[in-house]
Symmetry: C2
Subunit: 250 residues, 2 copies
């Protein structure tokens, strides 16, 4: 039975649809997560219930949810149920953190918000965030540190419209990832990020906050973050003098 139209009633009919049934099912579950039908941390109905409600077999339900589990959106708990992964969970906290110490030790930083303004987007920000010429961004700068030692200077640009409700306090220390706030205060769930790591030279602000000389070489990470629905919702430039960027492939 297809999940988009109304008539077909069996597998043969479903095959007439262009997209496989399990993909339709996956997208329907995804839509409910996006729409907040099931909140982060909340449990879905059991697989059996979903079978009945959606009119598909349990194998199809499992294949659909597996996709979302792989993408870090759902979490299966044997014997308990399947729930929407909250961004605040430890699993989620380190999901997108790629910085490590120079010797390879993992990092567990605190963020300190420096500035926060709403302004017209720069050309680069418009390009990265796919905004039009009148696009506005919520621009944040912050320092991420560990044990009062400043390690990363960051500039973030968020589409102002999407993040009108963010409301962070300048000067506040933030333990969680900002992705937690995006999710809790603005309903934006980050699904995927694309990073480019390169070289840069410290400008006056970086130098001041990182305690290095102006013009000193720094590692620059440019990140674009994508929401569940594929929209680009964050452009971030991170600068660090001593940390490394670590990642595993396949």
């Amino acid at each position: 039975m297809t999940l988009e139209s109304t008539t077909p009633t069996n597998a043969r009919a479903a095959a007439i649809e262009a997209r496989p049934l399990y993909q339709q099912t996956r997208d329907l579950l995804l839509k409910r997560i996006i729409d907040g039908v099931w909140k982060p941390g909340g449990y879905l109905p059991s697989e059996q219930q979903l079978c009945g409600e959606l009119g598909v077999s349990i194998g199809t339900i499992r294949k659909a949810t597996e996709d979302l589990v792989i993408h870090g959106l759902l979490e299966r708990q044997h014997g308990r149920g399947t729930r929407v992964v909250p961004h605040s969970s430890a699993k989620s906290r380190f999901r997108f953190l790629r910085f490590v110490h120079g010797d390879g030790r993992p990092l567990d930083p605190v963020a300190h918000l420096l500035t926060q303004t709403v302004r017209a987007a720069s050309a680069e920000e418009r390009r990265q965030l796919d905004l039009d010429a009148n696009g506005k961004v919520l621009a944040l700068t912050r320092i991420r540190s560990e044990k009062d030692q400043p390690l990363v200077y960051e500039r973030l640009a968020l589409p102002a419209q999407t993040f009108a409700a963010l409301g962070l306090e300048t000067g506040e220390d933030i333990v969680e990832e900002v992705y937690v706030f995006y999710q809790e205060r603005c309903g934006v769930t980050i699904m995927r990020t694309v990073d480019e790591v390169g070289l840069a030279m410290a400008d006056a602000l970086m130098a001041q906050h990182l305690g290095i000389a102006i013009g000193a070489p720094v590692l620059e990470v440019r990140r674009v973050a994508y929401a569940l629905d594929g929209r680009r919702v964050e452009y971030r430039e991170s600068f660090t003098a001593h940390l490394k960027y670590k990642t595993a492939l396949e």
Copy 2:
């Protein structure tokens, strides 16, 4: 039916085994790939045939092979069959290449082998490759370039024992990834790499080959590559002055 012992004959009996049947099946297929029963580029028996031979249902076969497809070892071709991915295929060629041009354009480099020696492993190489105090490595240095423009200077260290049969020609230009040679000449298939990106300063050799000043800042990528069986089989240090390192998360 279990794949390791001999007696059980149905699903109930298989459940007595500690590990799920599909994992045992996956590992058995993996072992055959490692042992060269099916060569890179060669086709496996059809799913139906595997069912019969291994005494498991088609669903179990599919779950097992799916695992290997995700890890980039097998490739399904609708209507043709399932084959072992050759490292020389385009898909495989760019699988572990993370460098891009400064403006984000993809890279398609040629490698030029500079030096090749067998020597005692350094402390760092022993640590990264898990070698003992007497460990020897095959050490290679090379330049990767595009249109005669040198872009990356690389030092590679390979456990000498494993790569006795490698036999590359110093001064030769190599279009393929060296991973192709590892696989074709030494039977070593790379499954996974872990990269750490940091800052460094150009030494005399890098400066000479990259056409930059001694002491100029460069991007340094340290990579450890893992073979199918989990052994660490390559430690690589790459240095570049102008390229970026690009990667997508989840």
